[in-house]
């Protein structure tokens, strides 16, 4: 099996369901049944009301670029082949933001406010890494 080659996310007890769903190319967000707040990243408690009554909801994955940067010097060898690539903070309609990459368009074509849709990059056993492409 040809290796994915990049650092994979080490799932924790509170994120196992998140990463498992990425294998099916689904983006799950945690929502508190008590106070209705969405949160990212997933945790064992709701950060707003500390309830442990949390559920997973599938997100449309359609969001907006909040900010971004084109990486021209890789943090480690594994990413050198990808340079330049765009790292971004994407805001989802559920009101959460996550750090990801913008793919499917040149780095200098990314804009703050750009509409994007989640895509998944398979990592093998660890799941699929959510990235975003122009919607």
């Amino acid at each position: 099996m040809s290796g994915y080659g990049k650092p994979v996310p080490p799932a924790t007890k509170d994120s196992e369901a998140y990463w498992a769903a990425t294998r099916d190319h689904r983006l799950l967000l945690q929502r508190c049944k008590q106070c209705q707040a969405y949160q990212f990243y997933p945790r064992v408690v709701c950060t707003r009301c500390l309830s442990t009554d949390l559920e997973w909801q599938e997100s449309s994955g359609v969001g907006e670029v909040y900010t971004f940067s084109g990486v021209y010097r890789a943090p480690s060898k594994e990413f050198e082949g990808d340079v330049p690539y765009a790292v971004a903070i994407v805001e989802l309609p559920e009101g959460v933001r996550l750090l990801s990459q913008i793919v499917g368009c040149p780095v200098d074509g990314v804009r703050i406010g750009m509409k994007v849709r989640v895509v998944f990059e398979d990592m093998g056993e660890a799941g699929a890494l959510p990235k975003f492409a122009p919607a």
């Binding site: 080490p10 900010t67 940067s69 084109g70 990486v71 943090p75 060898k77 790292v87 933001r97 750090l99």
Partner: protein, 390 residues
Amino acid sequence: MEARLSKQVAIVDIGETPVGKVPELGSLQLYGLAIKAALEDAGLHKEDIDGLLTAQSMAEHYSRQCLAVMEYLQLEVRYASTSLLGGASHCSQVGLAALLISSGVCETVVVAAADNILTGLSRDAAVREMAANRHPQYEIPYGVPVPTGYALVAKRHMHEYGTTGEQLAAVAMAMRKHAGLNPAAHKRDPITIDDVLKSRMISSPLHLLDCSLVSDGGAALILTSAERARELRKAPVYVHGFGEAYSHDNVSQAGSFTAFASRASGEQAFSMAGLSPKDVDVAMLYDSFTITVLIQLEDLGFCPKGEAGPFVQEGRIELNGALPVNPHGGLLSHAHPGYPGGIFHLTEAVRQLRGEAGPRQVADAEVALVNGIGGIFSSHATVLLGKAKP
């Protein structure tokens, strides 16, 4: 209830090692020589030290860094601690030293930091080590080097306020100008705005010259009560106020990408000191990147939010400007040994208030603000120092 020190506390000694490329010394050796230099500065003996506060090391990992330094120098202390707040560590530890002295737990506390990330690590290893501090699940898989964390902030600041690459470059140019007057600085050749903008792109919009150096070096400060300071050689520099605040741990969890907890840490320090931004004669701002300086100018109240871009133009932050920033050249041009970077902002502030800064002396410097930031705008600590007693 307002936070107050019950005793006046002062910095009485400072010591620095050579900085830049120092291949013959590792982290512990640099700690040893910095603390020795500090003790010799005001005529104290190592037996006088009863508190030891250190930073971490990237080039040489010690599980209990403060104890590694204590053992290396055979010090006997009542209190020892290693700060994990990155660039905010040193200002945070000045506050902690003041609390230890004020409460009577300690009499004489050393705040020290030293590392050799230039000659002790390859460039790739240094970049890798720093990138490893990102969130293992939600950041590292995406390949986020340290400059990118700051670049995300710069891009957003440009979007919200119209800040330009030229304005960011003005910070780098000013730091290099100051370093030109500092024989100890790692990089001293003058650079222009154009040089900065033409330097290699690291993570847009930040170019190579928008980013701090990778250096070897270390420094130490010694604090004691104002009463004890009277018996010592050099003019004490008094701690008027300090504060500490935290925005987040990982930048991907930041609430705002243009304003951070330096505002809260600054407010605490100003409130404790009974001072305001207009009282500050010299500002020592954590210049890990050019954008970091702009954010602090706003958050600390030197200019309104969004206006730091125009503020840094026309020489305003240069030596003869309205608010001199980092007369020693900062992390951008004097030295940045990684975890220890911010300690030189403190030693330079002391030098300025003692009137010992020679050609880079800020005239009539009475009050200095020192700000440290760790992580990616994660931890923030502010210290206000004064020539006069609080």
